[in-house]
């Protein structure tokens, strides 16, 4: 039981605790902050697994981008201090049962098949290797998905602007008229 193993379990408890609070917190803003802690914990897990590049991307994109976007949208749409109603038991109980059975079945599968896999410490994820393979045009290169995803990001960006744009006064149809 060395320090690295202890570190893993500490990180795991942080991720799961923050995640659990993120899906159960009654206040929307607190929920977003717990999500932030959970995502930082996952970045720490990537650091622990020695994939520093993924950890950096996780921090930049999730913590710096998505959570900030979520907090912005909370401020734009709700009073951030208002409490959400607790979900009724008729919705909580089936969800809890489904989740418990899912965890049990998956844990059983994992304990059946992945017990012998141990780390042999030969894994190297250097920045050079990642960059070379990402932009390589030869076999096993990822240039095509890279380009495809750049188009996807452009499309998503334009789509967001179009969806969230304030309609001009002439286009506004009141909901009563639209329903007829």
């Amino acid at each position: 039981m060395n320090i690295s193993v202890i570190l893993f379990y500490v990180i795991a408890v942080c991720i799961l605790g923050a995640g659990l609070l993120a899906v159960t917190a009654r206040q929307l803003f607190r929920s977003a902050i717990w999500l932030l802690f959970s995502l930082v914990g996952i970045a720490a897990l990537y650091f622990w697994m020695q994939v520093e590049f993924i950890a950096a991307v996780q921090i930049i994109v999730y913590v710096g981008g998505i959570v900030v976007l979520i907090i912005f949208s909370i401020f734009l749409t709700e009073q951030s201090g208002a409490k959400m109603p607790s979900p009724p038991i008729k919705r909580k109980l089936p969800a809890l049962l489904a989740v418990l059975f899912g965890i049990l079945f998956t844990a059983r599968l994992i304990s059946q098949y992945f017990t012998s896999a141990a780390d042999d410490h030969s894994f190297q994820a250097s920045m050079q290797a990642i960059g070379r393979q990402m932009l390589s045009t030869t076999d096993f290169g990822f240039l095509l998905p890279f380009e495809a995803i750049s188009f996807l990001l452009l499309a998503a960006m334009i789509g967001c602007i179009v969806i969230a744009m304030k309609p001009s006064q002439a286009d506004i149809v009141s909901p009563q008229n639209a329903g007829e």
């Binding site: 799961l16 897990l45 979520i70 912005f72 749409t77 017990t115 896999a117 141990a118």
Partner: protein
């Protein structure tokens, strides 16, 4: 150095995935549902990186899958928040139970 077996990382990501699923099932606020989906995507990323590191240490493909999933999650979150803001503008609420225009 680290002697944590692969199965413990998989238990962690399984638990995180089902925590996200619980949030998706019980919450009715669109922003919290989006946050639950982000948790689920993250647990899948942990799986990809862990499998890459433990089972195929000579390759990098799992890392690329994780990178692309992170990118797509960013695009998805942006579009979802645009939709949420638009819904709030028309319905004054982001509760999915209130958006029943196309239900009947």
């Amino acid at each position: 150095m680290n002697t944590v077996p692969l199965s413990h990382i998989l238990f962690l990501s399984t638990a995180l995935f089902f925590i996200g699923m619980y949030g998706l099932f019980t919450r009715r606020n669109m922003i919290t549902m989006l946050m639950a989906i982000e948790l689920m995507l993250n647990s899948v990323n942990i799986n990809f990186v862990a499998f890459n590191k433990y089972l195929y240490p000579g390759k990098l493909d799992g890392l690329f899958f994780a990178l692309f999933i992170i990118t797509i999650a960013a695009a998805e979150a942006a579009v979802a928040i645009a939709i949420i803001i638009n819904l709030y503008r028309t319905h004054r609420s982001i509760d999915v139970d209130d958006a029943t225009d196309m239900k009947y």
